[in-house]
Symmetry: C2
Subunit: 479 residues, 2 copies
Amino acid sequence: MTATYRPHLDDTLNDVRALLTRHRVLATMARRQASAPAERRDLLETLQQRQNLVELERKLASLHRADLAHILEVLPLDDRRLVWDHIAPGQRGLVLVEVSAPLRRLLLEWLEPDQMSAALAQLDADDLAYLADDLPPSALAAAAARLDSGQQSWLTDSAAYDDRTVGALMSRDAIALQESMSAEDALGQLRTLDALPGHTDRLFVVDSRQVLRGSVPVTRLLVAATTSGLASMMDRDVSSFSVDDDLAAVAKAFERYDLVSAPVVDRRGKLVGRLTANTIIDFVRAEAQRQALATAGLSDEEDLFAPILDSARNRWPWLFVNVVTAFIATRVIGVFAPAIESLVALATLMPVVASIGGNTGNQTIALVVRGLALDQLPTGSTAHLLRKEVTIGAMNGVMWGGVMGLCALALYGSGALAIVMAMAMVLNLLVAAVTGVVVPLALQRAGRDPAQGASVLLTFVTDSMGFLLFLGLATVFLV
Amino acid sequence: MTATYRPHLDDTLNDVRALLTRHRVLATMARRQASAPAERRDLLETLQQRQNLVELERKLASLHRADLAHILEVLPLDDRRLVWDHIAPGQRGLVLVEVSAPLRRLLLEWLEPDQMSAALAQLDADDLAYLADDLPPSALAAAAARLDSGQQSWLTDSAAYDDRTVGALMSRDAIALQESMSAEDALGQLRTLDALPGHTDRLFVVDSRQVLRGSVPVTRLLVAATTSGLASMMDRDVSSFSVDDDLAAVAKAFERYDLVSAPVVDRRGKLVGRLTANTIIDFVRAEAQRQALATAGLSDEEDLFAPILDSARNRWPWLFVNVVTAFIATRVIGVFAPAIESLVALATLMPVVASIGGNTGNQTIALVVRGLALDQLPTGSTAHLLRKEVTIGAMNGVMWGGVMGLCALALYGSGALAIVMAMAMVLNLLVAAVTGVVVPLALQRAGRDPAQGASVLLTFVTDSMGFLLFLGLATVFLV
C-alpha cells in the first residue's frame, strides 16, 4: 500500500465525494429498478454500482491514515458510514487513533466484534492506551492479550495516569543508551533496530539503574568520531518531564524551547518514556478548540455532523442557565414596572445599557482567558490588571455613555434622561470591567476552566445590573 | 553563559520578582534620603541598591532567551523596563525574536540607536527577516550590511513574501545533499558543519540543478552502511511545500503527518529553504489566540500590560459598532412604545427573547468557526449544516419557549401573553440558527476572518428581530 503525503487535500476530497455521489445516483437507480418488473432490471447498472464501490475502496486504500481521518470528519453521517465500511479492516485501527473523540465513538459503534478485533490487531500498546477509554473492555482485553508482556504492563500503567498529565500522552519508544558506551557502541545498538521511531532528534543516556543522565542529539552522533564516549558527548542539561507533570505546562515548555522530543522520568528519575512534538501540537490545538467552544457554553464532544438529538442535548445545560438568568433579569425589570409605565422611553433605552456592558465585559474576559492560557497572569499582577481594566471601563463609559446620552437627548428631548443614561453606562461599564476580570480568575482558582461559563455569568451580571442601575437611577431622578 | 532549560518557570519568575521588589524598596529609601540632609545619607543603602541590580543582571544572564521573553511578557510596564535595561546587550536581539509583536514594538522603543545596533548584531538573516517589519529601516539596513551576500539576498527575498505564506516563515538552513553521494560522502559533508541546525530530522536530496528529489531521515543515515548511495536510501515521496503556499493549510499538513521539518521549493521545484515544527507550533498557537480575541472584537495587538490609552483604543471600533446596533434596536422598540405603555409586562419579557436568541446563535457561530478552522466545512456540506442547525433551533425553541411561556403565564396570568412569548422564542431561535450559520460562512467567502465581528452582527440580528417578533406578535394578538 502506498500512502502518499498530500500537502493539500482538496483534490483528494473531491475525488472521494465524486465517487460517493456516483454511488448515491446508482443506488437510487437500483432502488427504482427493484420495484420494476424483473425482466426490466438492468444488470449493467448493478455492475456499475459494484465497480464504483471497488474504485472507492481502491482510492481509500491509497490514502494516509491522517487523510482518511480528515475525510471522515468532514462527511455527513451517511457518507461517513459508506466510507468507513470501505476502509480496509487492517487500516481502521490506525484511523481510529487519528479521528476526534466524538467521531471515534461513532465509528466504534459501527464495528461488528470481529471487525473491531481486526482493527485493534494493528495497534501497539501506545495506541491502545490512547483509545482505551472508548473501547469496550472485552475488546481491549482481547487486543491486550496479543501484546508481549512488556507492552501489556505499559498498557496497565498508562491507564493509571490522569488524562491531563504527561503519563497519559507519553510513548514508550524512548531509546536508552548506556552512559559507558562509545559512539560506535551506540551506533551498533541502533543498527539492531529496523528503523528509529519518528521524532527521534535525540537519544537518551542512562546509567546502569536506568536513571536519566543526559541526551545526545542524533545529529551530533552522526558527525562524531566513532571512538568518543557518550558521556563526553552528551548534554547533561536536558529538559526532562515527570509522569505527573501537568500537560498544559509541559506544552508551554515544548513551545518555549522548541523541543522535538523530551524524556519522561518516573518519581525516582528513571527513564520511562518520551514525549514528542506531534503529540504536543495535537494537544495545543485540541485545548484551543475546547476553550473556544467552552466560552460559548459547549463541550468539545459535539462534532458538526453528529446526530441532531446529541447536538441539541449538548446545548441544553447552557440554555437552561441562560433561561434562569434571563428570568431573574425579568424580575429586576418587573420591580420597576411603574417607572416604565410612566415613562416608556425607559423600556427602549434599557437594553442598550445591558448590551454594551455585556460586550465590553466579554472583551475583558477574552483578554484574561488568553493571559491565563499563556501563563501571563502570575499571582500579584491581578491588582494591576484590575486597576487597568477599571480605568479603561471608566474612560469608555464616559465617552460612549456621553454619546448615548446625546442620542437620548435627541430622541426624547430630556436632559435629565440623558444624564441618567450616561451615568448608568459609566457604572455598568465599571461593573463589566470588574466582573470580566474577577469571573475567569475565580473560576481558575476554583480549579475550573476559566472560559467555561464565564460569558454566561458575566452577561447575567451586566444584564441585571444594567437594568437595575438604569431603572433605579431613573426612578430616583426622573419619575 | 549557561542557559538552563526550565520545564517549570514559576520559581525563576519568583526569584526575579523578589529582586524587583527589593529594588523598588531600596529605590524608595534612596529617594527619601535624597531629600534628607547630606550627613544622614546612608552610603550602605546606595551600595545595597547597586548590589541588588548586579544580582538581577546575573540572574537574567543565566536565563534562556525564551524564558527572558516570558518574564518580560508577564511583568507590568515599569518592571519590564527595569528587566529590559538589565538584559545583556548581546542577548537582547534574541529576546526580541521570542516576544509577542506588541511587546516587541515597546521594547524597540526603549533602545537607543547604539543599543539597537548591538542587539541586532547577534541575529542572522532568518531572524532579521522575521523582525524586519518592526525595525526602523536604517537599523535594518545597518544590520543587513554586516551579513554576507548570500544572507543579504535571502533577507531581500523574504521581504517579498506575503505574511501568510510559507515564504515568510521558512528558514534558510536546509541541508542539501547531492543525489549522487554515498552515505559516507554525506557524512563527510555534514562533518564540515559545526553542528546541524535544530529540528533536522531529515536531510534533503537534490539533483545538480538544486531540484528537490527526495529526503533521507537522519536516523536512517545513522544506521546505514557507509557505501550505500543516497539515491537508493532516500524517500522519493516527500511532503514538500511551495513558497506561495498558504500557512494555515501547511500547518494542518504538519499536524496530519506529524512532520518535524519539511523542504520548501520555489516555483521551479528548486530547494530554497525549510519549515520546522517549532515555527508551526507558534503559528497554530498565535492563530488560535487571534481567533479567540477576534470573536470578542479585539485585535491580537493588545497585550495585558500595554499602556492604558492603547488598550482603550483597541476596543473602540467594536464599541462603536455596538453603540450603533444598540441604537437601532432602541428604534425597533420605540416603534412599539404604545404597546408597551398599554402592557408593561412586554418590557419585562422582551429582553429574554433577545438574550436567548443571542446566546444560541453564538453557540452555532462557535461550532461553524471551529469547523472552518479545521477545514471540516467543504462547499456542499453547508446546506446539510443549515438544515441541522434549523432543526435544533426549532426543537430548542419549542422546549425553552414553552418553559418561558409557562413562566409568563405564572407571572402575569395571561394565556395569550404566554403563547406570544413561546411563538417569539421559536421564531427568534430559528433566526439565530440561520444567522449563526450564514454570518461566518459569508465572512469567510468575502475573504475575511469568519470569527471577526461575527458575534456583533449576530447579536444585532437576534436583538432587533427578538424585539420586533415579540412586540410585533404582541401588538397583533394582545393590544
